[in-house]
Point group: D2
Chain length 359, copies 4
Amino acid sequence: MLRIGLLTSGGDCQALNATMRGIVKTVLNNAKEKVEIYGFEDGYQGLIYGRYRKMEWADFSGVLTKGGTILGTSRTPFKMLDTPEADGVEKVPAMVANYRKLKLDCLFMLGGNGSTKTANRLRQEGLNVIALPKTIDNDTWGTDMTFGFPSAIDVATRCIDDIHTTASSHGRVFVIEIMGHKVGWIPLYAGVAGGADVILIPEIPYDMDNVVAAIERREEKGGRFAIVVVAEGAISREEAAMKKKAYKAKVAARVKPSVAYDIAEEIAARTGREVRVAVPGHTQRGGAPDAQDRIFATQCGVEAARACLEGQFGFMVAQRAGKMVRVPLEDVAGKLKYVDPDSDLVREAKLLGISFGDE
Amino acid sequence: MLRIGLLTSGGDCQALNATMRGIVKTVLNNAKEKVEIYGFEDGYQGLIYGRYRKMEWADFSGVLTKGGTILGTSRTPFKMLDTPEADGVEKVPAMVANYRKLKLDCLFMLGGNGSTKTANRLRQEGLNVIALPKTIDNDTWGTDMTFGFPSAIDVATRCIDDIHTTASSHGRVFVIEIMGHKVGWIPLYAGVAGGADVILIPEIPYDMDNVVAAIERREEKGGRFAIVVVAEGAISREEAAMKKKAYKAKVAARVKPSVAYDIAEEIAARTGREVRVAVPGHTQRGGAPDAQDRIFATQCGVEAARACLEGQFGFMVAQRAGKMVRVPLEDVAGKLKYVDPDSDLVREAKLLGISFGDE
Amino acid sequence: MLRIGLLTSGGDCQALNATMRGIVKTVLNNAKEKVEIYGFEDGYQGLIYGRYRKMEWADFSGVLTKGGTILGTSRTPFKMLDTPEADGVEKVPAMVANYRKLKLDCLFMLGGNGSTKTANRLRQEGLNVIALPKTIDNDTWGTDMTFGFPSAIDVATRCIDDIHTTASSHGRVFVIEIMGHKVGWIPLYAGVAGGADVILIPEIPYDMDNVVAAIERREEKGGRFAIVVVAEGAISREEAAMKKKAYKAKVAARVKPSVAYDIAEEIAARTGREVRVAVPGHTQRGGAPDAQDRIFATQCGVEAARACLEGQFGFMVAQRAGKMVRVPLEDVAGKLKYVDPDSDLVREAKLLGISFGDE
Amino acid sequence: MLRIGLLTSGGDCQALNATMRGIVKTVLNNAKEKVEIYGFEDGYQGLIYGRYRKMEWADFSGVLTKGGTILGTSRTPFKMLDTPEADGVEKVPAMVANYRKLKLDCLFMLGGNGSTKTANRLRQEGLNVIALPKTIDNDTWGTDMTFGFPSAIDVATRCIDDIHTTASSHGRVFVIEIMGHKVGWIPLYAGVAGGADVILIPEIPYDMDNVVAAIERREEKGGRFAIVVVAEGAISREEAAMKKKAYKAKVAARVKPSVAYDIAEEIAARTGREVRVAVPGHTQRGGAPDAQDRIFATQCGVEAARACLEGQFGFMVAQRAGKMVRVPLEDVAGKLKYVDPDSDLVREAKLLGISFGDE
């Protein structure tokens, strides 16, 4: 008997179900023994509080194209693991106990950076854990790509496309805020795909003088409108100089007063142009996964299942230079992957004439 | 020689180009004489200041699927017509003069309510004007449908769909603000199409007690999440009691502090639930027109061209009970078409269990 | 206790699940008594052979956007009802018996023309039947619209759009075969929406001389490419003269040797142009329903449920001039709704310069 | 003065315009001197017969999202280069002469395998040529990816998705023929993305016994339907044994009697199942490019422009392991890139339970 557990942790994304289908289909097709599948509800919460359901192949049939996660998810910050808090539950021992009670052979954890830290902690406690790199933000260290990222680029690009027609009809400047948490991957990719004129990302602090100059340069060349893509974590040089403090505060408070509005107001004030704002927000993690995402998600699922069947645990499956690899959890846990300001795509974007506000 | 002018006025929408293609194609195909086409740039601004270009069929080839307007558009409030202001230009005489200078036989004006008032004014001055009902908001009196409306419903529905997956994964309440200006057509249609649980529109002032009760009722029945669709012009009973004053102020200020955020905060405070907001904004008027929109836009264009070839002017083309008709401009000018709170779709939505916050 | 049965019959379409959700949600929300729901599998087959499942609200939650039918469907030709055949089962008595055994109060039947005949037969046997107008073909007599039709137009239009770019790049003539069974609704609507140059539908038999002339006329005006939309049931005047015999044979044999290929060959031979064929086929009944379809499907579901709760049976719910109405099953059964060659949309399309091959 | 020429050759694809925009935008932004741009019409035909137009930035503005090619394209087989034929024109000298007459500094050629052979020939004649890897088929040797490929996967996957709902509703086997010319890249990727049960590609000749067995195995496990993805160049072992002769003939004749129909008939005959066929055909090269395609196309354009500005010619820009590189034209010309039957994705697909008909 092979007993496997599944959980999805942190912010949801488009190819979570596709990934789980890849795991389950591969395990069922290749296991020599009978397989039992347990799905924990709402991320680590399900493992902590023993909320799970026994699942069959039928539960995963047809979910390839289905966004979100059929298991539900939640954010369980790492620092809460060791705080029994109000409910008095010791989180780590509770998770270990539930794993043992179900006699699991392996726990598949689909999650991002924070969730990987917790996965590593469980590994240290002796559990067999395999992590799979989930996040629209593509900020997981150790892998070139994460599932969710391709589909998020699609949604963000579609938003920029939609804005293009209205921006050009009215001759307006549009500031579009794109997700990405502390990094600029989605804004960079969607900005290039959508034909943005300016892209502002956390890794390249901007100077508003340069942004304004770029918009005016475009106007002089006859451009009726301009598209400014702003990462939700974008920071100016002044903010950056304050050693990330301002930055962290901004990300923390990002639910309502979005960065884009402040930048839009400043552009309007300094250029005298009509400026509008678009914030696609959570739609970027919603909807069905695109083809590229489903393929990568499936590959992650197959690789994770393969490892489990080989009896290998304690790592995150990842892709590097087009190859699926396995990266030790202790190497991954808690590390972010940033956009390199000197990377090819940034350099190419600059050759195209896209301004990052840094020169 | 037949000389026609075209202009697109007010907020842009998805099927403006499709409509102009319909006009031009029909005129060119059926006119007995040679045809000259003049396109005025940026709405009435082009007619006032004599900014126009001579156009050929080639300019309209391939625009059927193209969002926005190839002529550009602008908002020229009716009350500005009689204020020479800083530039010293008498707007109405300037428009009449430019029309006369080009010896136009007809001016096709694609615009919404405000623009129709101006069109009627030009009619009174003796110009041959034909208006076509453009607006995503569907608030044009005298016609069952406007072009732009079907595509806006699509974008809004797609947004609700995308939010559904993330809302259900996290078990959250989402408040989605949908466009519509002073009326609730898009929120009503997209809300039904997207499976909303609550729909708040200006025509049905809401009581927050009822909204909260609807969300809690859903939770009791096992609904993990809830979708609240809010019109950008939604008002509470308290606001409505203030005789529209608060309402007008809110619409006027709607650029930044969107209605959805206030409602979300109140729901969060009163239910203790995790609430998030999505504001698709201008994407709702962007992108390519859908099939239904293109068909209706084409029908409007054909009907307007047909009237011009028949020598009939001074009306807006419209659709009533599935038939294309012509409505006198003086009947249309300045009137809004509201959602009837007792209409079939509202009644059907209530039978489905959708709350409008009124009971 | 209120006991309802549901079945989906005939070719599938996009909004079947959305319709059933509308029925079930309305019944559950408004019934005074407890409700039991039975879903019959694979259309009338399930009713004949007693294959059904008891269903809960949870089965219908989330199906609004899901194409196909969760119940499965099948074609059960009317003439087979009275042939016990190999299996020795008397079909009509078997259906009545299963209905009685479950003590059903009402059977909701989602189906097209043929299926409505069977529904009428069951009504004559004393069963409480409510039919709902399902079909992508829009050929159901008694209603202006059917669910499935809007989404099929979308898919067909998207196909024409995709072909446009390749046709224009290569300067080719493309013949695109669009579904519609014996009528031309989808080809007419998608042809107008997609900017077709020629549209051939069964209701307007074509003369190839006219088709060739239209293509050559377009070429003379500088059109590098041409789009010919052909209904799967399109017939030439010669074929039509043979009193529908050839026509029927063609429809019957349409699975493989599609009509479009023959027409393409003839165009290639007579114009010397490079001609290609596209046959989107079953994709036209697949995928998710669009917003318009979901709204109409929901309205049908609500109206049918409302009637059931009022104790009214024996009709098909329908839409006429924008209003939901109830049409007696005996009036509907076995009648087709054809495109009127003198209808507004055909006339408008001709004014646009679209050729129907008849002049 | 810098004078550049552009041409698009062979079958069209989705990101041709995006690529040209990348070239032109980069050259205009970074050239030290004035730039003249010449666009040749309909591929090499324009270069041979001197059909070109002088172009400005405005011609490339807004084409990022536009499918097809604004220059037009044509297939000019390599072997025709040295056959003056009927028109008496010596093709190669004519191309050299037109290049010289316009005093071009560089010719950018967007094309696939055959077109690259011709580009290499022009290089041998002393022209400065830079090739860019265009094709939906991804069969260009020397690069991991071609532009057009990502978007074609999208269209093909969407088709499989659409078919899924109808296949499952009716419990049918569907055979879907996917493009790819002599190789199986699109069917492999779209098959995995779309959740196919069987994928047949030219690189892995199939045995119908295995295909039938896979379908029956799925049925035994409760699968109501099955999706068989067939490459347009798929061959059985028998055909393969005939040393590619049959294979070539089949590809040559592929316009009408598509491979999918034969395979469908055989499956129907051997399984007794209801089988249907879908052939999305040319839609796979039509429509707008997706985000991934636009990014890669832009990167190709930037890299090609950068090389031109550096005075480097005679190669194709390519991507290997995520990096843009330059591959000598003589290495690329005339070589195909096949799917490796032992590659990771094939192996992973087999672990998932997908049958390739080879075992």
